[in-house]
C-alpha cells in the first residue's frame, strides 16, 4: 500500500508493523507525531500491546527497560533534550543487553533554542553502547525500524533509529507500507529464550525483573563485562549485513551500513549522513554528467562504527569529502574524527576534507554541496579540520575570522 506520510508517521508505521507489546514515549517537538500516531493505532485496536502515558523521557525509557527485562518487544521515541534526559538510562539499557528500539528525531541541544535538525543529540550518545542508524528517506525510516528489531533481538543490543528533524520528520512523501504478513515472516515474534552473551544471567530467569543484570559488580567483574560488550559490538556488523540482505530478498529494498553510490571509478568521494544524502545523490548525478569522477558514500550505521567497510571504500581515494550536520566545538565534525581515524589505522594518508554544514537546520542545498565538491577538487591538501559550508556572512574581527575557511 503506497501512502503519502511524514517521516514521523513512517516511524509509527514501522513500530506498528513490528507489533511491540509495550510503547511509551513522551512528546517533544519534532517527534510528537510519533506517539500521537501510535496512540491512534492503539485506540483503533491495530496495536495489540500497551501504550503507556508517562511523565517524562526518563520515565519512558525506564518503562520500556522494565518491560524489556520481562522479555517483551518494546518501542520508544524521543528527540534532543529528551534524549539527553535519557542519557543515564541509555547506559543501563545497553549494559543489560536489552533489545530496545528507539526512534530519535535529530534536533540540537539548546542554547540557543532550536527545533530543526542537527545530529549532535544522537552523536553525543555514541559511547552508550547503542547501535545507531541514520535514515535518508521516509521509506528508509519505516524499513530501518523493522530491521532494527531483528538486528537488536539477534545481537541483544539496543538500537537507535535516527531521522532528521523537520527535513524528514515533517516531510511527506510516498511510502510503500508493507503487508503485516510479510513483516511477520521477516520479523518473527520476539522470543527471549537466550542466554545473554557474556552475562551470567538469563533473561527468562529474571522474575521479578528488577534484578536483570543490575547486581553490583566488582571492578574486575565489571571490566570483564565491558570486554564482552565490546566483543558483542565488534561482531554485530555481520548481523546487520545479513539482516539487510534478507530484507532485500523479501521486500526488494536494501540499506547497507555503508552504501556506495557511483564509487567504482571515483577520485573524489563524498561522505554524507541523513536527509542530505538524497540531495547529494542529485549533485553527484549532475557532476557525473559534466564528466567529474565523483562518488558518494552514505553512512547509515554510526555505532558500532563500520570501520572495515569505511576503509574498504575510502582508502586510497584521491580525496574524501565529509559533509556533516554536527560539530564538536573546538575540535571538528564527529564523523570527520571517526572516518579520519579509520583511514589512518595503517598510516596510509588519504586527504580528508571536513565540511560542517546545516547546523541547527540550516539548509544543505544542492548548490552548497556542489560548491564543496568543486572546492575540494581545486585544493591540493586539506588546510584545516573544519570548513564552514553555508555559514552566514560574518564580520571579520580577528585572526581566526581571517583564517577560517568559509564557503557561502
Amino acid at each position: 500500500m503506497i501512502k503519502v506520510i511524514t517521516g514521523n508517521e513512517a516511524a509509527a508505521y514501522g513500530a506498528l508493523l513490528s507489533q511491540p507489546e509495550v510503547v511509551c514515549a513522551y512528546p517533544i517537538t519534532p517527534q510528537s507525531q510519533i506517539p500521537e500516531k501510535i496512540s491512534e493505532f492503539y485506540a483503533q485496536g491495530l496495536l495489540k500491546g500497551k501504550f503507556i502515558n508517562v511523565e517524562s523521557e526518563m520515565a519512558a525509557l525506564g518503562y520500556v527497560t522494565g518491560a524489556s527485562l520481562c522479555g517483551v518487544r518494546v518501542f520508544t521515541a524521543t528527540s534532543s533534550q529528551g534524549l539527553a534526559w535519557m542519557h543515564e538510562g541509555l547506559h543501563w539499557a545497553a549494559g543489560a543487553r536489552l533489545p530496545i528500539v528507539m526512534a530519535n528525531v535529530n534536533r540540537p541541544f539548546g542554547a540557543p533554542w532550536n527545533l530543526t535538525c542537527d545530529h549532535i543529540d544522537s552523536l553525543a550518545q555514541r559511547d552508550t553502547g547503542w547501535m545507531q542508524f541514520y535514515c535518508e528517506s521516509n521509506q528508509e525510516i519505516l524499513d530501518t525500524i523493522i530491521q532494527a528489531y531483528r538486528i537488536a533481538e539477534q545481537v541483544s543490543l539496543p538500537a537507535m533509529v535516527c531521522l532528521d528533524g523537520v527535513y524528514l520528520s515533517y516531510l511527506s512523501e510516498s511510502v510503500n507500507i508493507p503487508d503485516q504478513a510479510k513483516v511477520d515472516e521477516y520479523l518473527p515474534p520476539y522470543d527471549p529464550q537466550f542466554e545473554i552473551p557474556g552475562g551470567t544471567w538469563k533473561l527468562v530467569d529474571i522474575h521479578p525483573p528488577m534484578k536483570g543484570g543490575y547486581d553490583l559488580f566488582s571492578p574486575t567483574g565489571f571490566m570483564g563485562d565491558r570486554y564482552e560488550l565490546h566483543k558483542l559490538e565488534s561482531r554485530c556488523l555481520e548481523t546487520v549485513v545479513k539482516a539487510d540482505k534478507e530484507f532485500y530478498e523479501l521486500f526488494g529494498r536494501s540499506y547497507p551500513p555503508v552504501e556506495e553510490y557511483k564509487c567504482d571509478d571515483a577520485d573524489v568521494v563524498v561522505v554524507c549522513v541523513g536527509s542530505a544524502v538524497g540531495t547529494c545523490r542529485h549533485v553527484i548525478n549532475s557532476l557525473r554528467n559534466r564528466g567529474q569522477k565523483v562518488g558518494l558514500v552514505k553512512m547509515k550505521m554510526f555505532r558500532p562504527f563500520p570501520k572495515d567497510l569505511v576503509r574498504k571504500v575510502l582508502l586510497g581515494r584521491r580525496k574524501v569529502v565529509i559533509i556533516e550536520r554536527d560539530l564538536s566545538p573546538g575540535q571538528c565534525g564527529i564523523f570527520f574524527q571517526e572516518i579520519k581515524w579509520a583511514l589512518n589505522i595503517d598510516y596510509k594518508f588519504t586527504p580528508v576534507y571536513g565540511f560542517v554544514s546545516g547546523l541547527g537546520g540550516a539548509d544543505i542545498t544542492a548548490t552548497l554541496i556542489e560548491k564543496a565538491i568543486l572546492y575540494t577538487i581545486e585544493q591540493e591538501l586539506p588546510e584545516q579540520e573544519v570548513i564552514w559550508l553555508g555559514l552566514e556572512e560574518k564580520k571579520i574581527s580577528d585572526d581566526y575570522d581571517r583564517n577560517a575557511i568559509k564557503i557561502h
Binding site: 503519502v4 511527506s172 540531495t279 548548490t367
Partner: protein, 262 residues
C-alpha cells in the same frame, strides 16, 4: 506561502496526496518557526515522474501559491520562484494589480469569497481557504486531476469534506475558464482588503480601561509589544506585528482594538 492557521501545511500535504493518487511520486514539506496563528508559513510540494532524491527546501519553484496577499502587498519579498514561473494569489483584485512583483505569470482567485459563499468557515466565521485554493492550483498545475484532489480531501480528516470539495470545484472551474474569472472579480471583494490593512491599536482613549496585566505582552507571538513604566505606556511595533489579533482576543479589559489604516 500563507499565514499560520490558514492551512498552508495541510494544503501542501493534500496536493502531494492527490498527485500520488495520479501515479506521480510526490513530496511535501513545510518550514515554520515557533509562530502561531498569523505568522508566515511556507510549504513546498515536489511532483515528479521518478524518485525524488532532493530533501532540501525549495529554491526556484515553478509555481507559487500566495494564500495571504498581504505578504506581497506590504513588501516585495524574495519569492523563490524562477523567472517566468506562475504566481497564484488569493485576492479580490485583477492579476494586473500584482504586475510589479516581477517577471511572472500571475493568476488571482478570490478564494476567501468562494469559501465564504460555500460555507467553509471556522466557528468564528473566518473562511477556510486552503482547500478552495487547491482547486485553483489543480486548475493551474494541469498534471493533477481534480477527482484525485477530491479523493484526497475526503480522506484527509477534514471537517465537512463535501463543502470543501464544492468550494474547490468552483475555484477550479473559475481558473480553468479564465474568461469567466475577469468578469467575476469586479463584483466581489472589499472585505479581504480591509482585513489585510487592519492592525491592533492601543491608544490614549483606552488607557483607563487597561489594568496593566501584561497579558497582551505575554501572548504576542512575534514579541511586537513592549512597555514603558513611567508613565505606563504600551508600544506595538508594527514592523514585527503579524496582525494576528491575539492581543485583542486575550485582553481582558478590551483595551486593544482593531484599527483601520486610511
Amino acid at each position: 506561502m500563507g499565514s499560520g492557521g490558514q492551512g498552508v501545511v495541510v494544503a501542501a500535504k493534500l496536493l502531494a496526496d492527490a498527485a500520488a493518487k495520479g501515479g506521480y511520486i510526490s513530496q511535501s514539506f513545510a518550514s515554520y518557526g515557533a509562530l502561531r496563528r498569523g505568522g508566515q508559513v511556507e510549504s513546498f510540494v515536489r511532483i515528479s515522474g521518478s524518485q525524488i532524491l532532493v530533501h532540501s527546501k525549495m529554491y526556484g519553484a515553478d509555481y507559487l501559491v500566495i494564500m495571504d496577499e498581504s505578504f506581497v502587498k506590504k513588501s516585495k519579498p524574495a519569492l523563490g520562484v524562477k523567472d517566468g514561473g506562475v504566481l497564484l494569489i488569493n485576492s479580490s483584485e485583477l492579476p494586473e494589480a500584482f504586475s510589479s512583483l516581477g517577471d511572472f505569470k500571475i493568476v488571482t482567485i478570490n478564494a476567501s469569497s468562494i469559501a465564504r459563499s460555500r460555507g467553509v468557515l471556522l466557528p468564528n466565521g473566518v473562511p477556510v481557504i486552503n482547500t478552495t485554493i487547491l482547486g485553483a492550483v489543480v486548475g493551474v498545475v494541469s498534471i493533477v486531476n481534480f477527482d484525485h484532489l477530491a479523493e484526497a480531501i475526503r480522506e484527509g480528516k477534514i471537517p465537512v469534506p463535501e463543502k470543501n470539495i464544492e468550494a474547490a470545484r468552483e475555484a477550479y472551474q473559475e481558473v480553468v475558464g479564465e474568461a469567466k474569472v475577469a468578469a467575476a472579480k469586479g463584483i466581489e471583494g472589499g472585505n479581504l482588503e480591509k482585513a489585510a490593512e487592519r492592525y491592533p491599536v492601543y491608544n490614549r482613549d483606552k488607557m483607563p480601561r487597561c489594568n496593566r496585566c501584561m497579558v497582551c505582552y505575554i501572548f504576542c507571538p512575534s514579541l511586537a509589544i513592549s512597555y514603558e513604566t513611567k508613565p505606563f505606556w504600551l508600544n506595538i511595533n508594527y514592523k514585527l506585528c503579524e496582525r494576528c489579533g491575539i492581543c485583542i482576543e486575550e485582553c481582558p479589559r478590551k483595551a486593544i482594538s482593531w484599527g483601520v489604516s486610511n
